[in-house]
């Protein structure tokens, strides 16, 4: 990405910070705008990368099942376990997002 794009993106992230600084003495819930941005971007990244990872896992599993139909049961079991483990990584981000958005953090 070009440097101007990166700088524009970082500047957009700084807008809530400037708005909050203008408030008299950090108001109640200073975390809220940043929490929303963080939860949204984090969950989007996690879901996308989890999709990529699970796609690779299923692709290899299906390839292996096509090569050796006799072992299809065991391969399917390993695929299910692998998918659940990859999925849990995206779930940690979901839990963190819910934590950021719905817990009343002390100022």
């Amino acid at each position: 990405m070009r440097r101007s794009q990166i700088l524009t993106f970082v500047a957009a992230l700084a807008v809530p910070g400037i708005a909050l600084a203008a408030e008299p003495g950090g108001g109640e819930g200073w975390l809220k705008p940043f929490a929303a941005i963080a939860a949204g971007i984090g969950m989007a990244l996690a879901a996308g990368l989890c999709g990529l990872g699970q796609g690779r896992a299923v692709a290899s599993a299906v390839d292996a099942m096509a090569r050796q139909p006799g072992a299809a049961g065991r391969i399917q079991l390993a695929m299910i376990i692998g998918l659940a483990l990859i999925e849990s990584l995206a779930l940690y981000v979901l839990v963190m997002g819910v934590l950021l958005l719905f817990v009343k953090w002390p100022a």
Binding site: L77, I80, I81, A84, E87, S88, L91, Y92, L94, V95, V98, F102
Partner: protein
Amino acid sequence: MGALEHPPILSLPGIPEHVTYMWVAMAILIAIAFAASWRVELVPRGAQNFMELVLEQHLTLIDDVIGPAGRPYLPLLATLGLFILVANLLGLVPGLVAPTANVNTTAACALIVFVTYHAIGIRTQGARAYARHFMGPIPWLAPLMIPIEVFTHLARPLSLSLRLFGNMTGGHILLAVFFFLMGFDGMLGWALRGSLGGIVLGGPAALLMAAFTVGFVYPLKLLVAFLQAFIFVILAAIYIALAIEAAEPHH
């Protein structure tokens, strides 16, 4: 998020709802167990047949993952599996709450697995041999292996509890958002308010969302309920297998 809820049907005063519904799940399981073992017959029929099938599937799983040495641990794994399954399924009924949608319940199950697999390892191999397998295959690699092993072991109950909790709560939030969007505060309310745009757009949108919820979201939640119980049991079996198998010489 509280505004998206409706209070659960059964609520005892002073007792948190995840505890109440854990008791409901226990009552259901005890009732099924009584029905299955009331009169035990050689050729099983009905509830006994069903429960024998379920337990045989668990035994097959244990044989696959741990081997015959794992058969004494069938009560633990089957209890965990059946309890988590019933608890997950309770969350599908509107008006009931899944106890596993609360991190306390899932953390309790995960802690049970954690303490148990260490106890199994220590009892099978002896405390010194079990502690020695923390140091890895080569002795002078120990200062590197020990922190990695400790971190891995600590991550296991964390991941077990958060995986189950996140799946259940995520499905719950999804369903709550759908009901909000298509209910009397959303599409349906828009249609019922009588404006032309409401009837033309809101009505079909509400119908479409209802069809989507019943046809896709509910089956997905059902699948996730079964899958997460299965994953919990199989991961617990894998941890027990790892705790036992270090007794064999590495090859």
